[in-house]
Each structure stands twice: as structure tokens, then as C-alpha cells.
Amino acid sequence: MIHFISKRLRHSLVLLFMASLVCFTLVVSAPGNVAVLIAELRGAVATPGYVEKVAEEIGLHKPLLMRYAGWLGDAVRGDFGISYRTGQEVSADLPKRMLVTGTLIVGSAVVATLLGLALGFLGAFWPYRLPDRVSRGLALLGASTPTFFVGALMIYGFSVTFQLFPSFGFGGPESWVLPWVTVAVLPAAVLSRVVRVGLEEAMASPFVLTAKSKGLGRTAILFRDALPNIIPVFINALGTQVGLMTATAIIVEPLFAWQGVGDYFLQGVKFRDFMVVQACLLIFLAFFIVVNLIVDLAVLMTDPRVRRQWS
């Protein structure tokens, strides 16, 4: 077990390094010259000479490998450089923004889990009956509605029409509800299908016949016998969905005026603010890798058959 974790951690570090290389390459190969933008932002007329001066100042002339090494060396020490646009330290902005995005993703993951389980069980309790059909219809609707549209509907419905929740800002718990639900809709739809199909498959297994022969009722069999069998699959699916929530955050944070990492990333992209974009990408990638590690460990804990291979 310890061996497994340390091995996975080592793999994760290698993965993170390679990911940083990829995101650096992507960012520097993006079109556009940031020096021009900075020069314009400083109010001076962007004469070629001045642009040249700015480029020199922020180190655009150094060889790529040097720039990467320099950036990585600083990033390891928690220094993500200075934002070209604001002139502020990126690492000074990050903690607050990570807290915002963390709140968004953790809350959405919880909402998605609850909704997914509830809808999935609804279908499994009454297979091919009305509740199942309603659950399947909702899943289809949830999976095929774009997130920005869901967010707009949420604001229109619960903020404008019924005025139950604030439409923007990161304040108290009541301001968290709409963003959480908005992000959770798509994952919940996917997860409900995972639960529904998994339960149906489990209920057709021979051990369910044994459970029936014991005199257990359907509800007891669903919870005691079928549910433990789908937990590893569910965790896997949840992990994928939570990983994808970073992408959703880029859409939803600006929508609700939350100043999280997603919003930061979007601003960075708009302004070709390399330092900000790189820092955000690295955080997203690290998050993805950590989520995967947690998923693997959680599957290890919930599936005794997998656990055996590593003990």
C-alpha cells in the first residue's frame, strides 16, 4: 500500500514536469506579441523601439530553454513571475483565487454526487417505469445543455424571477448555490447513468440470486449487495468529471463574477499574459493529477479485488 502510494507519487511528479513542458510550449508558441500590448498599456506610443525595449525588459529575447528553466525554477519555489498586465506578483493573487475555485469544485462535486446517486437510484428502483424514464430524460437534458446556458437559466430563474439567490459575487453560502448547481448539472447527468446502468448490471449478477434466496427484499439487495459493487466505477467516473470541472470553471466563474483561477486564466488568455496563463495551466494540471491519484487510492479502498494486487 505504502509502496503503491510512493510509486504513484513519483509517477505524478514526472507527469507534472512533462505537463509543465507542454503548457510552456503551448503558451510561447501562441501567436501575438505581448510586448506590443504592454507597450500600449503603458500609455506610450508603441514605437518599434519602445516595443523592443519592453521585450528586452521582460526577457523575451532569451533562448526558449533558458526561459523555461528560469520559469520552472521559480515556479518550484512558488514564484510564478509577475503579471505583464498588472505588474503584480502572480503568486500573490493565486491563494485567494484557488480558494474560490476550490469552493466551486468541491461544492459542485458534492452536488453532482448527490444528484447523480439520487437520479440513478430512482431509475434502478423502478426500472423502465415512469421514474426511470423521468430520470433518463433529465440526464439527457442535463448532458446536452451547454453550461453557459444552464448558468444563464439559473440566474434568470432563481435570481431574477424568484430572487432566491444572488446572481453574482463570491459571498456567503447563499451565493454559492447557483454556481454549484450550474457546474454540477452535466456531471450529475453522466453520473446518474453510471449509477443506473451499474445497478442494473449488478442486480443481474448471480450473487443477487443468492441474496434473494436469503429472503432479503429488493431495497436491501440494492443497497447492501448492488451498491458496494458499483462504488469503484462511480468513483472513477466522478474523478473524471471533477477533473473536467476545471474547464467548466473557466466558463462559470466569469458568468457569476467569481474571481477564481478559471476567471484568472481567461483574463490571462485575453491579454496574452503568459505568466498568468502558465501558472493557471500548471495549477489545473496539478489538480488533475492529484484527483487521479485520489481516485486510484479510493478505488483501492473500495474494491477488495484491486486491493489484493497491491498489498
Binding site: F207, T210, R305
Partner: protein, 331 residues
């Protein structure tokens, strides 16, 4: 209480309706099992022997509509027509089940101790702690060494023989009066088969239970059963005490089955003696005797009408064969 046998099945017919097809895997079968007795039900695959025992107890896959007719009286109570909620109380509590494949009959992600203990909680109204104690007793009863450690293991950590012992422990946990064992040794290694069979037989005697043993292994029948029902194509071909049916089989099908068992005096390399022809598929209706196309004794009358089960020369044995019964009448 009274003289009625523990299990009295009479003229049981089972019809299965799926979305696509309707079949009758059990057609007018009767038998009885008394307390402390073991009945073997023998037949080839698809002869209806499993459905006959599982369908009246509601153990059919979902998506299949099961129509039952005839009568299944268990412990003085008619099971056919009972609602599922009532039949559920019989399952596990009064009737224990043992399945063919212990590899898949246990839940892979739950500790075997829990899988046994939940029976005691459900049927003996025990607290979880008392139920664990009971599980420990049961696991000792089925002859598993190092019982306390086994309780905490998962099915995949146990061998096939051990898993089948766990399945038996589960079946016994509700203190049943009847055990229904569906080919309990078929999926096991040959070396383990004898152990499991001996264990079952021993438990049945010690706990004075009745047992229905579904099998296609004549060796199992000879060693364990008191009575035998030979099934062929959804019907009973022959029924009687094991010592009589196996020694002097009357029905040509029974004779063929027993003749097919390899013998010690067979020369090495000789071909197996099989029954000629293939068994009929379920669902095709028979006007006469279903075995007639494969039968060496068949006469035209065999295909004309279904032969009734009739007492043979020995009144303990009943046979459904027109030819055999005609001879008896002539004698």
C-alpha cells in the same frame, strides 16, 4: 403435527413468458420430500430440474413472467398463489439454497462473515454482534479451518471448495427445514466434490433436514439420495427409491443414463456409451412421449399420446413409459 410430507409437489407446471417466447420447462411433475429425507432430481441440461425448484419460490430472473399451476405444499402451506412478500419469508428462513457456482454466488466486495451474519440478523432477529458469533459457529460447522480469520476475508481470497462451504453456511444460517442444492458439486474440482457432498450429507443427517439435490451426476445420487426423480424434457420419466431405480431402471431413458456411466471393466480407450440423438429443445410441443425419437423400444403408440406415470411391478416405483407399462400389464 400430521403425516403430510414436508414438501409435497403435485402436478406442478411452470410456464415462462419472455418478451419473445413462451416455454414450458416443467410439465406436470409430482414428488414429495419428508423430513430427514434426501431427494435427487436428475436430468440433463434444460430438462427443467432447476426451474422446477426455483420458480415456485420466486427465484427467477427479472423480465420473465412465471406462470405456475398445480400445487407446492411446504410445511403444510400452499406456496403457489402466495404473494412475493410471503414467499420471501419462506426463503432463507425455512428453505436454504445452495448454488452451482460458488465463484459467482457470493458478493465479491463484501466480507464473507457479513454475508453469513446478515442471515442471522434477518431470520433469527439477532443483533449484529450475536450474528457474528453465529457466523463463526456456522463456519466451524461447515468444516473451515481458522474460522475467525476466514470471516474477515473476501470471496476471491478463498478457494472454490471454501467458497462453497461459505455458501452452505449461508444456507444453514436461518435454520432451514429444507435445503435445495442446485448442482452443488458441478463447478468444483473433482477432489473437492466428494468432500462437499459428504459435508452436505452429514449436515443433512445431523440437522435432520430434508434435502432436494439437483444433479446430473449419478454417482452423487447413489451416494446421497433416498429417492430419485428422473426428468426428461420437462416431465418426470421415472420416480422411486434410489436403490430400486438405480439397480433396476425401468424407463429406457433411465437405463440409458445409467448405462452411460463409464465402468471399471471398460477397456482403456473405448468410446463412451452415449444416448443416441439429441435432447429436444424447450417449447416444442410433444403429443406423445418426448423420449420416443431417441428410444430403442419405441412403438407407434409412443408418439400418439403422452404416457402417464404408472406404478411398475414394484409399487414404490412409477414410470412414464407406454412400452414398459404394457409389458407389466401383460405379465
Amino acid at each position: 403435527m400430521h403425516d403430510e410430507p414436508l414438501l409435497n409437489v403435485s402436478n406442478l407446471t411452470v410456464d415462462l413468458l419472455t418478451a419473445k417466447a413462451a416455454v414450458r420447462p416443467v410439465d406436470g411433475v409430482s414428488y414429495t420430500v419428508r423430513q430427514g429425507e434426501c431427494l435427487a432430481i436428475v436430468g440433463e441440461s434444460g430438462s427443467g430440474k432447476t426451474v422446477m425448484n426455483f420458480a415456485p419460490l420466486g427465484l427467477m430472473p427479472t423480465g420473465v413472467t412465471t406462470n405456475l399451476s398445480g400445487s407446492v405444499r411446504f410445511d403444510g402451506r400452499e406456496l403457489i398463489g402466495l404473494p412475493e412478500s410471503e414467499i420471501r419469508k419462506v426463503r432463507g428462513k425455512s428453505i436454504g439454497f445452495i448454488f452451482q457456482d460458488p465463484m459467482s454466488a457470493l458478493n465479491p466486495v463484501r466480507r464473507v462473515g457479513r454475508q453469513i451474519a446478515e442471515m442471522a440478523e434477518l431470520h433469527l432477529k439477532m443483533t449484529p454482534r450475536a450474528a457474528e458469533e453465529r457466523a463463526l459457529e456456522l463456519i466451524k460447522l461447515v468444516g473451515i479451518s481458522d474460522p475467525a480469520a476466514r470471516l474477515r476475508q473476501f470471496p476471491h481470497e478463498l478457494s472454490g471448495g471454501l467458497r462453497q462451504r461459505i455458501v452452505i453456511a449461508i444456507a444453514l444460517a436461518g435454520e432451514p427445514k429444507l435445503l435445495i442444492a442446485d448442482e452443488p458439486t458441478t463447478a468444483l474440482d473433482v477432489t473437492v466434490q466428494a468432500q462437499i457432498l459428504r459435508l452436505l450429507k452429514d449436515l443433512q443427517r445431523r440437522l435432520n433436514m430434508a434435502m432436494v439435490l439437483i444433479t446430473h451426476d449419478m454417482g452423487v445420487v447413489a451416494g446421497a439420495a433416498d429417492n430419485i426423480v428422473v426428468m426428461y424434457a420437462a416431465r418426470a420419466a421415472e420416480r422411486g427409491p434410489v436403490d430400486k431405480v438405480l439397480v433396476t431402471p425401468r424407463h429406457p431413458y433411465t437405463r440409458g443414463l445409467i448405462n452411460a456411466i463409464p465402468r471399471r471393466e471398460d477397456p482403456i480407450g473405448s468410446e463412451f456409451r452415449g444416448l443416441p440423438g439429441i435432447p429436444p429443445t424447450l417449447g416444442a410441443p410433444f403429443k406423445g412421449c418426448a423420449f420416443a425419437p431417441r428410444c430403442e423400444l419405441a412403438i407407434p403408440a409412443c408418439t400418439a399420446s403422452r404416457p402417464p406415470l404408472a406404478r411398475s411391478a414394484d409399487s414404490a416405483v412409477v414410470v412414464a413409459c407406454a412400452v414398459v407399462n404394457q409389458r407389466k400389464a401383460a405379465a
